[in-house]
Symmetry: C2
Subunit: 166 residues, 2 copies
DNA sequence: CATAAAGTTCAAAATAAAATGAACTAAAAA
DNA sequence: TTTTTAGTTCATTTTATTTTGAACTTTATG
């Protein structure tokens, strides 16, 4: 495998770690992305990433659970193959936004626990309202994306090409 | 301190951990929120949370760095006091959105590294465009929030009161 | 049915992250 | 200037997370 791709796989690992997932999950996802084959077998992944079966087994479970990869099985072949799932990208965002809901909730509960109303209380109300509101707005935006994405992607593609040509 | 508040502080710790920060940072933030005093001293925080000076020192640095708390000093008093910062709540969101930029970037770079263009490539283009686009949309929404927040908060407040009365 | 390949499980080992505590620095007060 | 208080630093310890590897389960195939 090309050095560039190996570097890429490691960077993906580091990013996943930053996002609160595991490094190995990032490596597997990165590998599935840059691999030229449609899918990779368990053992192929294990060999490329030089990890143990146990580690790959646990990682695949994580990724399947997060909906980031899909398992593929073929008739007449007892192996399991994996590929990046073509999940709705907006679902990842929606999922991540739940973190904001949690944050909003804790701010709002904090406000309720205070007996004295001061400017921190004001701030807490403002902040928790913001997250409630932004959640609603985002739902609308995501609907817009789903209905107009072909057009939007085309616009971005043209912009990108212009930049390359110039 | 009331049991409820102690529970709250611990829950805040757990949430911060889930968000990728430290448990202690969450506890300190939670405490500063529910404390009835305008600000808390270093040693007061240390005592309430039963932690070492070293731990509090490092945690306060983290929180100051993340812009979540502010330090206050008073003339004729060598202590440093801390309070939750009244930062623009939308800035926290903006900051968190950088994670999505990173994610978009790695998807897009993965697409560039593939020599074969297949449906994973298509998906990568779609996904990375989505994050670019959503970032722009969010900036607009945040502007809207900043200019209309008083009105929006008032609307939410009324809704909340209605729910309580009924 | 017996064999072998493909994965899973889980206890133990390795690694990483966070907290402690003691020695240190800075700055106000006596 | 000396003392005291407030906080920082950092090596060590504690705790939590990840990985390994060997024994086990499952499923296909001769």
């Amino acid at each position: 495998m090309e050095t560039e791709k190996i570097t890429y796989i490691e960077e993906s690992g580091l990013l996943f770690e930053k996002l609160g997932l595991t490094r190995m999950a990032g490596r597997v996802f990165g590998y599935l992305i840059v691999s030229e084959e449609d899918q990779a077998s368990f053992d192929q992944i294990r060999k490329v990433l030089q990890a143990s079966k146990g580690s790959i087994s646990g990682t695949m479970k994580q990724l399947l659970n997060a909906g980031m990869v899909e398992a593929v099985s073929l008739p007449g072949d007892r192996k399991t193959y994996y590929r990046p799932s073509k999940m709705k990208i907006s679902d990842i965002l929606k999922h991540r936004m739940r973190q904001f809901d949690d944050f909003a909730r804790i701010l709002s509960r904090g406000e309720e626990l205070k007996s004295k109303k001061d400017d921190v209380s004001e701030w807490l109300i403002e902040a928790s309202t913001f997250y409630l509101w932004i959640g609603e707005q985002l739902d609308e935006i995501i609907d817009k994306w789903e209905s107009e994405k072909t057009k939007i992607i085309e616009e971005y593609r043209q912009n990108h090409e212009e930049r390359i040509e110039s």
